[in-house]
Amino acid sequence: MAWAILRKDLTVELRTLETVPAMAIFTVATFVVFHFGLQRDQLQGQLAAGVLAVSLLFAAILGTNRLFVAEREQGGFDGFLLAPVDRSAMLLAKATALFLYMVVLEIVAVPAFAIFAAPPGLGGALGGIVLFLLLVDLAFALVGTLVSAIAVNTRARDLIGPIIGLPLQIPALIAFAIGIGKELAVFPHRGPGGVIRAFTYHHSPSGEWLLVLALYDVFNALLAYAVFDFLLEE
């Protein structure tokens, strides 16, 4: 059932191009702003990681705010609630959609980050960074879906999303930024062995942060599954 909702969401997004292009343009614009704001041609280590993390988080908030727009404006909630379907199908579909939006965004954002921030060692650390990106995307998607479901039925929905969402995303932001920072700073010239090194976390200085992110994902997945039904009810 989640597949039916996801397929519908992806079809609508492909036809309207309302969410992912906006997120991508916003992220690239943020990199440009940081580039000129910090007045540096090259960002290193923790600073580079922070810029990437904050830009992606803000883009995720943008996606979060649009996640249930069609459901609210075109009666999709009512149509879904009238069907004899497990409510968690909507959670799974929306979280997967936001996760996919983030992945597509990063296909644009990471090369743009390389251009505007030019952090040394980005190529070598890419394997580890991809793992961090996937895990932080999952956190953004799960928390974003929950927050969006809370915000969608309120009058100040555009404000509620960031106000609730940003603090809840802080643990993921910290783990992601520190982990990526270590990847960039400690092994600035290493080869493409980042994936394996990141998996064997006790041998990698960023591995423990990968574990923190994974645990935060598990926690949010369980929390979302437990409360999502109640959020959709009146």
């Binding site: 009666g75 149509g79 009238l82 069907a83 379907v85």
Partner: protein, 226 residues
């Protein structure tokens, strides 16, 4: 005959405002209940409570011998709702919308083509909903409402935006002859009375009249809409 709907002393508020205050009504299987009343009388609220989309704040609501909202999950697939909103995604075609709803209800694709043909939208089924006229959207909304062969139809102004030919077209699907238990609202009391077995007139959130259509006179109707 068993009652499909049984409502006792139903109360529903929106903030401080009481929209329904102690409404009671029972509807037997196969019967049609017309709900009359001016704008804001609580007609749509009553329909949304029966559709399990709103919770009652007081009293008891039973559908198919199940109590709402506790057993909402058990009755959802048996309700067809035609509301003011068509519940269709504008960027999808009519056919895509119906296929989506068919998937949610676990219905095969053949039924989608069947209802599209029944509402006269088979040839225009691939047009995006945003490109359809209001009348065509209403026909698609009817197709969506009856797609899963509901046992209870909740019809809020079902013939709005339809020309006489289109209204005739959907008659076998949602009309009295369909043999489905129906609750319908209308701003055209004469038309609603003509197809009702039972009338509930709402005024100020209370039942001003409950009984057969023959029992309500034109003076009472005029008073209702004053």
């Amino acid at each position: 005959m068993d009652d499909v709907i049984s409502i006792r002393e139903l109360v529903r508020n929106f903030g401080e405002r009481a929209v329904l205050r102690g409404v009671s009504v029972s509807v037997p299987a196969g019967a049609s209940l017309a709900v009359l009343g001016r704008n804001g009388a609580g007609k749509s609220t009553l329909l949304r409570i029966l559709a399990t989309l709103l919770r009652p704040h007081g009293g008891e609501v039973r559908l198919f011998d199940r109590t709402l909202p506790r057993d909402s999950w058990a009755v959802r697939g048996q309700i067809g709702l035609l509301s003011h909103e068509p519940l269709l995604y504008r960027e999808l075609s009519g056919r895509e919308n119906l296929i989506y709803h068919a998937r949610l209800h676990g219905i095969d694709r053949a039924r989608v083509e069947e209802v599209l043909a029944a509402v006269g939208m088979a040839r225009r089924g691939d047009d995006p909903v945003r490109a359809c006229s209001r009348g065509m959207v209403q026909r698609l909304a009817v197709a969506r409402a009856v797609l899963h062969r509901p046992r209870l139809l909740l019809l809020d102004e079902p013939r709005s935006n339809l020309d006489p030919a289109a209204a005739d077209l959907i008659e076998p699907l949602i009309g009295r002859g369909a043999g489905i238990t129906r609750v319908l609202t209308s701003h055209d009391p004469e038309a609603a009375l003509a197809e009702a077995d039972l009338v509930l007139a709402l005024q100020g959130g209370r039942a001003a009249y409950l009984g057969p259509p023959e029992g309500i006179d034109s003076a009472t109707i005029r008073e209702l809409y004053r």
